[in-house]
Symmetry: C2
Amino acid sequence: MKFEVTILGSSSATPIFNRNPTAQVLNINEKLYLVDCAEGTQQQMLRFDVKASRIDYIFISHLHGDHYLGLVGLLSSMHLNGRKKELKIFGPPPLKEIVDLQLKYSETTLHYPLEWVFTDATAKGIIFENQDIFVETIPLDHRIPCTGFLFRQKRRLRKLIKEKIEQLEIPVAYYSAIKKGNDYTAPDGNVYQNSTLTIEPAEPKSYAYVSDTLYTEKYLAQINSVTLLYHEATFLNDMLDRANQTHHTTALQAGEVAVRVNAEKLLIGHFSARYKTLNELLEEAQSVFPNTELAVEGKTFVISE
Amino acid sequence: MKFEVTILGSSSATPIFNRNPTAQVLNINEKLYLVDCAEGTQQQMLRFDVKASRIDYIFISHLHGDHYLGLVGLLSSMHLNGRKKELKIFGPPPLKEIVDLQLKYSETTLHYPLEWVFTDATAKGIIFENQDIFVETIPLDHRIPCTGFLFRQKRRLRKLIKEKIEQLEIPVAYYSAIKKGNDYTAPDGNVYQNSTLTIEPAEPKSYAYVSDTLYTEKYLAQINSVTLLYHEATFLNDMLDRANQTHHTTALQAGEVAVRVNAEKLLIGHFSARYKTLNELLEEAQSVFPNTELAVEGKTFVISE
């Protein structure tokens, strides 16, 4: 099952010439999930060929402008481009008030249903589930209410051993039960143990989106053993005081989080505009967690094939 | 006196790959005036080297997103970049409500004073004046309250004829009175007529920003004899019905407006995303008003040297 993330913006509060503020799009089994939607996200989607019409879910972490100011423009373009199907937005309750006010004064009545799911930054919770995944909020510690999002694949059914199934000429009608772990009783009365007919499915993969936050203990347990961890890394560690003061994380701390939660891989992003090049941030995170990459615009990272 | 406009966005409602929605910046005697501020205006300013710190005045025509959704991001970046000096915003009254709501939920208290001047789309009025210019609102006919803006240079003082002044050895203390049109009485009692000492200053130049509107009579008199007319031209004339229905103008109509008001030059912009190339729009406007150019991103048009 395809499970990958494409970065649309890597900048923190202010944009710089070649970096946009935060937005990412997940493709999970050919469904698109937008995570944060900073100003310019529409243009980034055009640039990287992400079709807005394919997005059915938008997750907004918090109400600092660099994470949501592109939302109203995107909703409006979807409307003008003829969208009819429902769009679901997950975010802090006041986001609806902000969107409604702007639609009111532009005298826009969207031609498609907008469904709201409000996040609660005080306690983690599953806010979405479909056949492929669960999405949980990750309560973070920022200056205003803020949640990250944990996308977890569901455990898949056991995989049939094709040769064995063919050899025993097992009828298709039995496949579903066998995939669920049942043994198979043949017409001659022989019982075949499930373990001889199937193999374990791949371990469920996961993606944690952690932005923006102070580096604290509180979200570590929840993202333990995550496959791919995106963690903000606004500053180098020589600006730790500033990071603490603004409730952000340094690249070194992001690396430490990845070590402590035993992530497979780390992406860092949300870089301060003061860094014209990003090598130092990458090297600092890699000094504690070597399997780190920069979450830069247009790059796609595969979580599972 | 420098008087020029740089185009930051030429697209209507939805952005397309190489076109941003509407924003323009005027440089009038080295002061910068931003006119509309669509999503992505900050990025466009970075691209075309327009310093946000130099902008002291922002004019918003109306509350369709493609004309103002970049405002909150720009205000926030000015704040984060240490702005202290006042910023004045001219626009429809609900714009303040929209900005205030977003600042409230991001818990942002701007470090600089924001002064608001509300526009009234029902009657024209002078909303700004300094030593260089007057700015008038142009009431337009759009689906929601909308004003254009007319920037008019003030009439300048008469210009001294340098050789004559030097020949008569006129003391500097008299210059100001002579520039205002006074005659000069020399120490010997001789009176020199002002017309022998000065020449007429250049005629005041003007820039009319007309977006978005149905093509009607109502704003024509006000922009008569304008130097540079920017007029929206959302559609080709084969989509006149659609233009009427959405309260927009066609390229042909924009050309007709330029003819009727006797403009020196016409810029057309606010192009529908359906037009991947713009030649047809240009040719259509030029068919009635030859001195037309496309108001495309990054181009600067000189109104006066």
